[in-house]
Amino acid sequence: MRFRTNPASVLHWRQWDDEYVVFNEVAGQTHVLDTLTACALLCIESGATDLPALVSDVITHTELSADSVTKALPFVLEQLSQAALVDIIDG
């Protein structure tokens, strides 16, 4: 699976402890994200383009186990895609 941030998005962030809010300036939409989802999006923004790289990056930045991250990320990516924050290039 390969992905990228939606090129037609400009993101602005706010964080309070483990709560994240992201605003997509282009769509005018505001999203509340949990830690894993926010971390995944930030890692994709920083250049992760495939699932192994994303799992590795997310584990580095969170205290979550590799197993739980690996299981959760496909669902997280699907949510980010539905929110038009991430493009899944091939599945």
């Binding site: 400009v10 602005h12 706010r14 309070w16 709560e19 809010v21 300036e25 505001t30 509340v32």
Partner: protein, 305 residues
């Protein structure tokens, strides 16, 4: 010069002819109306507001006039005219003063984009603002009216103005709109409070507007910093209970309560984020106004150095 310097007869005449410019918070409204209840309502509730000089810039021209359709022959109606158009359906003539208030709100909420505008009451203590966003029926206006009768300062009962230049909360200080049972509740709570005539059968039920205390108006130029975002909910018989809530969810709900968050784009997001950064966020359930006052006073005391 303040509006009470103009005798009621002269006010009626001026409203009918050239109109009269009054300053409410940061805005100059130029009001015209041929309807007697508008003059009476303004004479009572806006008595202490400055009358602007004729040379001052006018932000909004508000004209509350009698509707001119065929209906006027059997049922007189009032209408709001702005820039030659009538944005609202005409209302019965007895609704003319509430229509003026709603029209002024409409002008601000649709056009004053130098502010991020939240649909929320906002009150101040010790320089910190408590923003009270809530849907109709939650007891927001009743709570706001009671607190401003007991030491909190009114910034606005309906429109929270967040400055886009410095993030401060700017007082609007207009009469407090109360509905249905809330009118008598506040009359009993503060017998010295001054109300406009009660108007029945409006789209919001029975409404009346409460006059703003002179000492609040005297501080209309004093902005406040965000202190709290509190989502109130009246529940019959409930003990007062203040519960911390998610800042992220609060921000999202505030955005949904804003009139122009979408218009302002990223700047609106940053302004709203700044408010939430500086604020404690809470849900507040209450049934008794004295309990609510104690809760709010304790909250204010907790932030004093």
């Amino acid at each position: 010069m303040i509006l009470s310097d103009v005798p009621l007869g002269d006010l009626r005449h001026r409203l009918r002819q050239a109109g009269i410019p009054i300053k409410t918070g940061p805005f100059n409204f130029h009001v015209r109306s041929s309807i007697a209840s508008v003059a009476q309502g303004m004479h009572l509730l806006y008595a202490d507001y400055p009358v602007s000089a004729d040379t001052e810039f006018v932000d909004f021209e508000v004209h509350i006039d009698e509707a001119t359709g065929l209906r006027r022959w059997y049922r007189r109606q009032s209408r709001f005219v702005y820039d030659g158009a009538s944005p609202f359906t005409p209302l019965p003539i007895s609704h003319a003063f509430p229509l003026l208030e709603w029209s002024m709100n409409w002008c601000i909420s649709t056009q004053a984009h130098q502010y991020l505008i939240l649909h929320a009451a906002v009150i101040e203590r010790d320089g910190l603002a408590a923003i009270l966003p809530a849907p109709p029926g939650s007891g927001k206006s009743t709570l706001c009216a009671s607190l401003i009768c007991r030491g909190w300062r009114l910034l606005s009962d309906e429109l929270t103005l967040i400055s886009m230049s410095d993030g401060s909360i700017v007082p609007l200080c207009r009469p407090v709109s109360l509905k249905n049972e809330s009118i008598d509740i506040i009359r009993r709570y503060e017998p010295s409070s001054v109300f406009s005539n009660v108007v029945r059968d409006t789209a919001k039920g029975t409404v009346a507007h409460m006059k703003v205390a002179t000492d609040h108006l005297a501080k209309v130029h004093v902005s406040a910093r965000p202190g709290w975002v509190i989502f109130p909910k009246y529940e019959s018989g409930a003990d007062a209970q203040l519960t911390p809530r998610s800042r992220a969810a609060s921000m999202l709900q505030l955005a949904q309560n804003a009139f122009n968050y979408g218009v302002l784009g990223a700047a609106g997001f940053q302004a709203l984020g700044g408010v939430v950064d500086q604020s404690g966020c809470y849900d507040f359930v209450y049934s008794r106004l004295d309990d609510a006052l104690r809760t709010f006073d304790a909250l204010a005391a907790s932030r004093r150095p």
